[in-house]
Symmetry: C2
Subunit: 226 residues, 2 copies
């Protein structure tokens, strides 16, 4: 068939310029908007105007993409302060803030060892600021704060999601939980728990986090400045 009869092939779309940063940014946008389960290689690829398989030139597996996302988030964690205590508190609080900005982080933090450049940079910043501390104490101390933060924000985000799932705000959530707990407590099997839940003052999320962190920092202080 002669050229004249053959239709011109459609304009080949200019291949979208791609790199890890663009991929990670697209994935993070998806996760921020609709949670981690909205991040699929197909959706990420579609958001970039690209075929799913294209991504495999930049990553070997989805897990690696998640690692990259976490490391990108670590870049937002900026501990600062003059004393070791300020630095550790800042480490905890800026981590918490970052998780609030990217709730999916709660699902990933602590899930795999973080060895990416931003995670290391965060570690460097913290360790450098702790130069007055006995070298043997640095890792356990930072590790303990990290552990507390990871667990605390997980619980916090879990609660927040549960609230959201019922479409309630914090006050109404407790009211909605009420019936179940009321019925359960009515069985009389959890008397001590019932008393505490009913009678104790309920702290909000900020205060709860701060209080636990204070416990930990107080304990560290006792050991560090021995």
């Amino acid at each position: 068939m002669l050229v004249w009869e053959r239709p011109e092939p459609p304009d080949r779309p200019v291949p979208a310029p791609l790199n890890r940063e663009r991929i990670v940014r697209a994935a993070i946008e998806l996760a921020d908007a609709d949670g981690l389960e909205a991040v699929s290689l197909r959706k990420v690829a579609t958001a970039l105007g690209v075929g799913p398989m294209r991504l495999y030139s930049y990553i070997d597996s989805k897990e690696e993409l998640l690692d990259l996302m976490v490391d990108a988030a670590y870049a937002e964690i900026r501990p600062a302060g003059d004393t070791w205590r300020e630095v550790l508190r800042s480490l905890a609080e800026s981590t918490r803030q970052t998780v609030h900005a990217h709730e999916w982080l709660a699902d990933l933090l602590g899930g795999r060892p973080q060895l990416g450049p931003h995670a290391l940079a965060r570690g460097e910043a913290v360790v450098a600021a702790l130069d007055g501390v006995d070298v043997d104490d640095v890792m356990p101390v930072v590790g303990a704060v990290d552990a507390y933060v990871i667990g605390a924000v997980r619980r916090e985000i879990a609660g927040r999601r549960a609230e959201r799932a019922t479409g309630m705000d914090e006050r109404r959530w407790q009211a909605a939980l009420g019936p179940y707990l009321e019925r359960t407590f009515a069985t009389g099997r959890f008397p001590a728990l019932a008393t505490v839940v009913r009678d104790a003052e309920h702290l909000d999320a900020d205060a709860t986090f701060a209080m636990g962190l204070d416990f930990l920092l107080d304990g560290i202080e006792a050991r560090i400045s021995r």
Copy 2:
């Protein structure tokens, strides 16, 4: 077609007796053996000699199955002790032991609010044992210990998996990580971190966990017995 010509239908297999406990036990066996991602409704059903859809008479979604698994695991957590400090330490350590027995728990702990009977029973046991403590302090204190434990075991299990993924034991893993860290540290971008990693004494997992827990309990003690 007359009966005589029609073949007799095959013996209908006696329907396997089923209940949540059996389902959960099967799921836990799968998870213990091959991790959480080995738990699919199809595999659980197959293990029980049953069609996948059968499970939906007992649970509404896979999430609920995971909740049931977690609650079953909570049954193994048995905090005990005479003083509040013993109880909290025991809470932390028996939680950690349970996670060691069921590594998949590390992926689930803190992921959703736990309101199952065994979780509540564990809470009851702890709260009851803390009866000397100011009622307003009970929840924050238990919450802080829980948060620390959740984060700590997550990190611990994450590290263990990373070791296992390379097929190394603890010593060789550090040697295997060495090259990457060595090269990274050689860039000079993380001098403080490099110093600590190279020069500090490295605690094993038990000691690391215990040390962080001691920090926290010390801090709590300072506040509680005021």
